[in-house]
Symmetry: C2
Subunit: 343 residues, 2 copies
């Protein structure tokens, strides 16, 4: 697919509404019957499939720092939406972008659109329409995906006895946030890796597809592991136990310390690692459940997309979440997840 | 369909993110396979149809006044999206709502959700998902509709010789805006009627459906007649002449003066009426073209939905728009349409 046209506009020039759409956000339709430029986009529908739809809104000062790199922001705005498709096992098709901007400056719009469209191209997910307006910076993307009818991964399918898994590594986005908020100081390489997770998350689209027919329930981790696992438990009418020893190993930053446990404990510490993993949001990994008979299949799914799938607990009949230490002893659960109106 | 549950929450209580979704925005799916509450909504796809998709973002202080009635705002936020489906001749199916709110207060959310869902029910358009976050007030709706493959009304179909029509009445939303901005004073009944147009527009969904196979091109009038007609002309590679005498009669406020032309001229005036009709946005009527052979069919379509269709001009080969007075003499075109980054 063609790269976005390189702008000849001076980087600080103010653009008009239709000029900015034409310059940065209009490309020829690929699968869509009609893309940007009419009242609606048109997309063919395929029999035997269901459309998966999700919307996410990102607000400056709440979901990202005001001075964030616009290229990273373009990436993240789409990634958080693709992550919802991943959680359903849906194949990305297309998206709309609604954008409120204080000023329409090419110096911001060009890298933003490049970060956004590079990720879109990677997933074959077309930009088919949207809206632009002046206003406090706000990015709202609605993403459309496709899944064979009845095969979507839902939050409601967890069964008592199922294993609980997390993809990839977890908690590093929150670790970076702690540094950015001045609550913690870390060596530059550790912070840089964590910051990458916070600013340019990877949506687990391929893993979501590979887990169709394998996982019994799935959600993406946007608000924190316990919060998002909680949605699975609530919708499935079950409870869970989580092994904290396995969970705290999920923090990628721990691996950067190698065998230097003393430095890890001094700079981050196991308690904080566990808190980042259990409560930290913004990682966009998947938390999913699968029957014990599917253990080999889960590992095959992970290998096929080069993503680890770590078993961290089991589904139980008793509601609520119980945290167990390495000895199997229950430890207090005082962790909370993110609430946009309580934070 | 059931009305939204009446809230027992004190009107000024601050709600949590999931509580507010559950209380005001969660209803049982009707046609959707899965609605609010999972990572994605799921919607069955029907062979032989195309999905029409549009997103609109409304920002406080730009698209509506800060003190607007939240019930009217809920209505308008969906109406402007349904209007895009109307312009394509698509049948509304479902929508997502992304909402940034400074505070999650039941006193605001309850009437907002009632205004929104009452209009949704009127059109059988299900709320299937979305997002809520704290932030400067911003409402982003993505609407999904359905149209038989190849039958969508497009902006690109206008032919030289086609008639140009406008549905209903036009310019009154802009007239009300002039009053609200203090540029004009009007008698209360005249302002009240115009304000209703500004705050609670009617999307011409039934007319859009009735125009399938009749109109050659169609757009909704959100940014002003000349601007939105301009999109049709640009996409169709044609020009137009507009009869200003027919156009200025489209202002509904004129009718409120009956035969009292002197009062109309003193309080509004023909020049301002024409400006409201040609440049004023926010009316959400349809501007469409149709071959002269379709004149009877256009009137039948209008009658079938109790909406007037007024012929105001013709499509011509020469690019640009020519304004003609009652004598057929060309008058200067100094009118502009709305640009969100220039206004």
């Amino acid at each position: 697919m063609p790269a976005p046209a390189v702008s000849a506009t001076p980087p600080d020039a103010q653009l008009g509404e239709f000029e900015l759409i034409r310059k940065f956000f209009t490309r020829a339709p690929v699968r869509a019957a009609l893309g940007v430029g009419d009242d609606c986009a048109l997309l063919g529908q395929r029999a035997g499939t269901q459309l998966a739809i999700s919307s996410d809104m990102l607000v400056e000062g709440r979901h990202f720092f005001p001075n964030v790199d616009p290229r990273a922001l373009g990436h993240k705005a789409l990634a958080v939406n693709l992550s919802d498709l991943a959680a359903c096992g849906a194949q990305p098709l297309a998206f709309t972008l609604a954008l409120a901007l204080p000023q329409a400056r090419a110096a911001w719009l060009e890298p933003f659109s490049q970060g956004l469209l590079a990720l879109a191209d990677l997933h074959g997910c077309e930009l088919i329409g949207g809206d632009t307006t002046a206003g406090p910076l706000n990015i709202c993307i609605t993403v459309l995906g496709e899944v064979p009818t009845g095969q979507a991964l839902l939050r409601s399918g967890a069964q008592v006895g199922d294993d609980i898994y997390v993809s990839g590594t977890l908690g590093d986005a929150y670790l970076a946030l702690q540094v950015r908020l001045g609550h913690l100081t870390l060596p530059e390489p550790v912070f840089a890796a964590a910051r990458q997770r916070m600013e340019q998350p990877t949506a687990r689209v391929a893993l979501g597809l590979a887990l169709r027919g394998v996982a019994s329930a799935c959600a993406d981790i946007s608000d924190g592991l316990l919060g998002d696992l909680g949605h699975i438990l609530e919708r499935s009418g079950v409870g869970a136990c989580i092994h904290t020893g396995a969970a705290q190993e999920l923090l990628a930053a721990r691996g950067l310390y190698g065998d230097n446990h003393a430095a890890f404990e001094a700079q981050i510490g196991s308690a904080r690692a566990l808190q980042c993993v259990l409560s930290g949001g913004d990682d966009y990994e998947l938390v999913f459940t699968a029957a014990p008979a599917q253990r080999a299949a889960v590992q095959v799914a992970g290998h096929s997309c080069a993503v680890a799938a770590t078993r961290i607990g089991q589904i139980e009949a008793t509601p609520g979440v119980r945290l167990l230490d390495a000895n199997g002893t229950q430890v207090p659960n005082h962790y909370t997840s993110f609430d946009h109106f309580a934070a």
